[in-house]
């Protein structure tokens, strides 16, 4: 059985409006983030993978299962949609328990599992209360609980951090990491790039219905060949290091920190930069405290690829 989520030449048109076009990707297990502006096609991709939409062209399989076979698919897939709506009149507990019964659980089993799922998202106390009285963050967490209550192998989460306060976000992100253990798929779409960056094993950048880039975040960043990489170096002699770097052709810009204990280097050839740093340490006794790529993250890749500050090569 395939362990991947596969889109092969998938296009979706809403009448004459493009949803996504010619998408061909294979998503392995782990945490994958779909990143892109509103209307770029992230939700369309998730809805296609779960059969809520049907492709105009192409084929999709989730762990080898076609989305038009819900009886098999949703034993293995949970989807927390972006829709902030619930069946009227239900409590958090009855909502999760009721739909779990469609998985074949008995009432007592469904209630027990629903309570455990609510506990997992920190909502056990609020479970017996009506959803209509919940805050947005609570509704978001109930939806999360409902998506994972049957212990799926693939969890799709559309803007799952919306409406959550910082504490709840941290808890939920920990839940995502926990879900991704043991070879599960966790697919997240989010605008909160900083948190996606912390979470993701892979990123898929979507723009205007097209996949702009995909892969490991650092790999995608490397593909942005024309954009210089910003690297932060904390060291004892930043002026000396700046002079050394300016003697090469690859350094575009250097700015020294106000505290005179570090500098940010923008370079077209990070490998060369690291060689210079090694030489400075070994030959000249430079003391380096820390080296980090300051824009080697999803936000930078998003800026270059989605907001059009760079070209993909």
């Amino acid at each position: 059985m395939s362990r991947e989520i596969v889109f092969e030449g998938v296009s979706k048109f809403y009448g004459e409006v493009l949803g996504v076009n010619r998408v061909t990707i294979a998503i392995p297990p782990g945490i994958t983030s779909l990143v892109g502006p509103n209307g770029s096609g992230k939700t369309t991709l998730m809805n296609l993978a779960t059969g809520l939409l049907q492709p105009s062209k192409g084929t999709i399989s989730v762990l080898g299962i076609r989305p038009d076979d819900p009886a098999v698919l949703f034993r293995k897939v949970g989807y927390c949609t972006q829709f902030d709506s619930f069946p009227i009149g239900m409590t958090g507990l009855s909502f999760i328990s009721s739909f779990l019964r469609l998985h074949g659980s008995s009432k007592s089993e469904a209630d027990a599992r629903a309570e455990a799922a609510l506990q997992r998202v920190g909502m056990r106390e609020a479970g017996p209360r009506r959803i209509a009285g919940y805050s947005k963050g609570m509704r978001q967490r109930v939806k999360l609980a409902q998506a994972v209550v049957h212990d799926p192998e693939v969890v799709l989460l559309d803007e799952p951090l919306n409406g959550l306060d910082p504490m709840a976000r941290a808890e939920v992100m920990e839940l995502f990491r926990d879900l991704a253990k043991n070879g599960r798929h966790v697919i997240i779409s989010s605008h909160i790039l900083h948190e996606v960056d912390q979470l993701s094993d892979r990123v898929i950048l979507v723009k205007g219905g097209y996949i702009v880039a995909e892969g490991g975040i650092h790999g995608v960043r490397t593909e942005v060949a024309t954009e210089p990489l910003s690297v932060l170096v904390r060291c004892d002699r930043p002026s000396y290091l700046a002079a050394r770097l300016f003697s090469t052709n690859h350094t575009m810009e250097v700015s020294i920190h106000e505290d005179r204990k570090g500098l940010v280097v923008r370079t077209l050839d990070p490998e060369h930069l690291y060689r210079v740093l090694n030489h400075a340490v070994v030959a000249d006794g430079l003391e380096i405290e820390r080296v980090s790529a300051s824009d080697d993250d999803v936000a930078a890749v998003y800026r270059y690829l989605i907001e059009g500050e760079g070209d993909v090569h």
């Binding site: 809805n47 809520l52 939409l53 819900p70 709506s85 009149g89 009721s98 019964r101």
Partner: protein, 266 residues
């Protein structure tokens, strides 16, 4: 086929039935279901008719024109057209579609939900209105109520009530799936059904109520403009509405199978 569809369909019923009856969507159904008993209560209180024969004819007219082509018709129309459309308006249909249940079973489950809810409400209404009318009559009317003839007629009315829920229900479920606003086509069906009595025999056969007329234990008065037709044989009167329900339900499940959900969000 039955094994793979029926069990999950019944699971859908277990989720949906309480909401269909007691939720916000159930309120109009309960109101429409209680109209006939309330009317009978009123009629019993004001009228002086106590004769058994007159009450029998009175109930036949009430059932045919007030229930079948009135409260039941619109109650069933409301309940079934909202089975999917109501979920779409609430933006909650996707929760059903994201469960390990075939779409056909979801459609069947929702249909069974509608049948159970409407049969329960309108059968109780039929029994209550029948008992109220004859119970408020004279001693002969009360005796008729408990007699085999009276109970047989009541059973026939309840049977027609259930058959109407089954047949109209399938049609209105389908209309709720294909029409943006199903109330216009429901009104169209209502006018066609209402006009059945004045239609020529050939055209009458295209209305559902014509087959129910054949099943009535007492013919209902049809007015001076009516074109009379011989009643259909009993088996046709039962079989053709069931056949209609089966065909329309099959088409509805096909529609649900390819149904997309986006609620206009990306």
């Amino acid at each position: 086929m039955k094994e793979t569809l029926l069990a999950p369909a019944l699971a859908v019923v277990s989720v949906d039935l309480k909401r269909a009856l007691l939720g916000r969507r159930g309120t109009p159904l309960l109101i429409l279901g209680s109209l006939a008993p309330l009317l009978m209560l009123l009629v019993g209180a004001v009228q002086r008719t106590r004769a058994e024969g007159e009450l029998i004819a009175q109930y036949a007219a009430l059932f045919r024109y007030f229930v079948l082509c009135g409260s039941l018709f619109f109650g069933v129309g409301w309940a079934f057209s909202n089975l999917f459309r109501g979920e779409i308006l609430e933006r909650s249909l996707h929760y059903f579609f994201l469960t390990p249940v075939r779409r056909e079973a979801i459609a069947l489950g929702k249909y069974i939900t509608g049948v159970l809810a409407t049969c329960l409400v309108f059968s109780l209404g039929t029994v209550a209105s029948y008992v109220l009318l004859f119970g408020q009559g004279g001693p002969a009317a009360v005796r008729y109520l408990g007699s085999p003839a009276g109970l047989g007629a009541l059973a026939a009315y309840v049977g027609i009530t259930c058959l109407a829920c089954v047949a109209y229900g399938a049609v209105f479920l389908a209309l709720g799936l294909v029409a943006k606003s199903p109330f216009v086509p429901i009104l169209g069906v209502f006018l066609a059904e209402r006009a059945s009595v004045v239609l020529p025999v050939m055209l009458k056969r295209f209305t559902v109520v014509h087959y129910f007329d054949s099943l009535l234990p007492v013919p209902a008065p049809s007015g001076p403009l009516a074109l009379l037709a011989d009643p259909e044989p009993l088996f046709l009167g039962i079989l053709l509405p069931l056949l209609l329900a089966s065909v329309v339900l099959y088409l509805a499940t096909r529609k649900v199978r390819t149904m997309e959900i986006s609620y206009g969000v990306d």
